[in-house]
């Protein structure tokens, strides 16, 4: 419907909401520009020095008028604050049924990983009418994941995870741009989001060459990097149990508790002294510099989804068992 050349197309559930606030603000602006401009132009002509006009009793102040001015400014501001915030909360609402993808920004490309193991560079394939959640991080500097047609943008920050929810409402190919200056080829860090119907997407996933799912990749890394040396049932070292960790409340040695989310897990791998679990000594070594962001994504999936984490890690890295079962 919105094939207006001055606005990008509306291709997500968020777009309509964002545009509503935008158009309302345009209407408000036109109203103010015409009333202030109109009043100014009227006064400029009616009271032009060459014109005879009634210039007696010049008002130096009028508190009633000031209250009306201030009052109307307050009303307008309050309204747009609430509406802008309400719409924002609506479009950034997480859903439980979102398809989670992993996006790594680096100078100067986007690397995408699917849970099933597919990988892409500078392109995302997603199904239409399906909530998507991107887990984003950067390998180097701050970038920003921006799809104008969806009206979504999220900075991609090194050292932490950020997340972005959206749901595409149209099939087609939509521009992806980096929106945070990141060096030489910032303006060439472009990509595409390809939205397909659900059956087309399933077909695309199935046809895409895959070496192994992210969970299987994570399992191999878990063994290879030595995590299983401490974090399994068979270990002699006293280390926290990772089975079912994701989403669990964890008590820390400082007395606080927190919920173990993706950022917590990532921090525990790279900055193990940041959150020490209550009852454990801070002896875990850091894996900073040894694991890439993509490997950490895979570990995250493994910790989240592997139902037999405590035993699975004992299998050798070359086993085909888990791949065949998926």
């Amino acid at each position: 419907m919105w094939d207006f050349p001055l606005f990008p197309e509306q291709a997500s559930t968020a777009a309509r909401h964002v545009d509503q606030v935008y158009f309302a603000l345009i209407a408000l602006s036109i109203f103010f520009i015409f009333s202030i401009g109109g009043a100014a132009l009227y006064f400029m002509t009616h009271y032009h020095f060459r014109r005879d006009a009634d210039r007696r009793n010049v008002p130096k102040s009028n508190w009633k008028l000031e209250v009306i001015f201030i009052g109307s400014a307050v009303v307008v501001s309050t309204f747009f604050f609430f509406w802008g915030a309400y719409k924002y909360l609506k479009i950034s609402q997480a859903t439980d049924d979102a398809l989670e993808l992993f996006v790594l920004g680096k100078q100067w490309m986007w690397k995408v990983q699917y849970p099933e193991g597919q990988r892409e560079i500078n392109r995302l394939h997603i199904p239409v009418n399906q909530p998507i959640m991107l887990r984003l991080t950067s390998q180097d500097v701050i970038h920003s994941f921006y799809v104008p047609a969806f009206r979504v943008k999220q900075d991609v920050v090194p050292g932490r995870y950020t997340t972005l929810w959206f749901e595409a409402t149209k099939t087609g190919t939509f521009k992806l741009e980096c929106a945070e200056y990141c060096g030489t080829d910032h303006s060439r860090m472009l990509g595409e989001v390809v939205v397909m119907s659900a059956p087309d997407f399933a077909r695309w996933l199935a046809n895409r060459p895959v070496q192994s799912t992210m969970v299987a990749q994570g399992e191999r890394i878990f063994a290879r990097a030595g995590c299983s040396g401490c974090h399994t049932a068979a270990s002699a070292v006293h280390a926290p149990d990772l089975q079912g960790l994701f989403g669990r409340r964890v008590a820390l040695s400082t007395g606080e508790t927190l919920v173990a989310d993706a950022s917590y897990i990532r921090d525990s791998i790279l900055l193990p002294k940041k959150h020490v679990v209550a009852g454990y000594a801070p002896i875990m070594p850091s894996f900073e510099g040894q694991l890439s962001e993509q490997e950490i994504f895979a570990l995250l999936e493994f910790i989240k989804f592997e139902p037999a984490l405590n035993d699975a890690a004992n299998a050798s890295p070359n086993t085909e068992k888990n791949d065949a079962n998926k």
């Binding site: 990008p8 964002v18 935008y22 032009h48 400014a73 747009f80 200056y181 990141c182």
Partner: protein
Amino acid sequence: MAPTLKNYLQDGSTLRSWFLSTDHKRIAILYLLSITFFFMIGGTVVGLIRLELLSPAGDVVSSDTYNRLFTIHGVIMVWFFLIPSIPVTLGNFLLPLMLGAKDLAFPRLNLLSWYLFIGGGIFTLVAVVVGGVDTGWTFYTPYSSTFANSAVITVAAGVFITGFSTIATSINFIVTTHTMRARGLTWFRLPIFVWSLYATSIIMVLATPVLAITLVLLAVERGLQIGIFDPSLGGDPLLFQHLFWFYSHPAVYIMILPGMGVVTEVIPCFARRPIFGYKPIAYSSIAIAILGFLVWGHHMFVAGESIYAMLMFSFLSYAVAIPSGIKIFNWTVTLYKGRIYMKTPMIYALGFLGLFTIGGLTGLFVAALAVDIHVHDTYFVVAHFHYIMVGGMVSALMGGLHFWWPKMTGRLYPEFLGQVSAWTMFLGFNLTFFPQFLLGYLGMPRRYHTYPAEFQVLNVMSSLGASILAVGYILPFFYLVWSLRWGKKAARNPWRATGLEWEYADSPPIKTNFESPPIVHGPAYDYDPQKEVNFD
């Protein structure tokens, strides 16, 4: 009658009498020449940028060069042009005169501030010569602290030094306003320009130290890699953004409040009536200064701050719009029952009214959380701040320069050329920046060397506008310089304006400003619109 004393321009003609002068008026002239020089560099750089953006491909300069161009454009225009602009030229020249004083409270500190400004400027120019800096004027980490291969520390040092110039000026202004007002000149009889300089000075003295520390931390991180901002060493890249914007948001109010003050002097004079709502306008300047410190997080809505922070900053950003709105309403009502003369300064002031209104209204767009997600880091924001800083502040600077030109130089500028320049600037400005709102909403990000082809038409319009805007700035440069030698000599008060600088000081003033200290008997803006005026 011709003055028997020499005016400040004639009183000493050696280099020493200029470069070691503690006369606030001479220092104002030194500053005027300096900021004009930096404006020309910053403007030439953006000429290259707009040339490059005529076509989608990056075919005029390389990406690395382009990134250096937009960075140095921002650094120079913000720190070496706009932040000093009106305060160090018109402010330095007029504050003692408007207060009925002989000079500022600390004349030698004033001279030092100019040398600090020049020292910082030299550092920055050296950086440009040794290869430039490519981080954007915002220096975001970890790009600037770990990855950039450019003269980051040199530029940071230049800005650091110049910051002390700002702090010195602001201390001088605050103390002078408190302690050196003439007899009878109570706070609420002050010209609003003084209120605006005062509010600006409060922001300068409180915010600039934060910038200084932030730049030191950036230099330390870049030099010693100790992990303040580098996440792989346990640092936080977002810490930099909080520190930087805590200064840089108040900084934008430094870059508009003085312009608002100038407009509040010009409109009453050319509408021949008192400003409407003196107290609300005075208080609103203070309100803007205070609220301006509470909104920095609106630059970080997409950066990963908490939803609670986002809500608070959005709310406060709407709050800070209200005092500006009051000024706009009051300036408009000041035209009611006035006697309007459309002289050059008035054209600039009314241009300010229109352009600042548009720029301010688009602030409501970016303050709305839902909309900012889409327009953040796009040309929408670029257009928003240029409407305020260039459409607003630079218009006010031009208007103020023209208004006080007779007082500062003893000459009148050519009125016809003044009007041509004002209109050229207004039209060129709109053609340059209005298309950028559209580009932003369409999804063109900032700081893009190359861009998708569908954005070309709007970019061509913008570049065309820029060439017209350039004419609007170059013309005054020529005729103002021309007027120094061949302009009509000005009387003491060619605009029949109120204010101690017009009523009791010559054009140009003697070195000590007044033959004897003036005494103030009534409120400011004592104009009567029922009287016709014959301007010279």
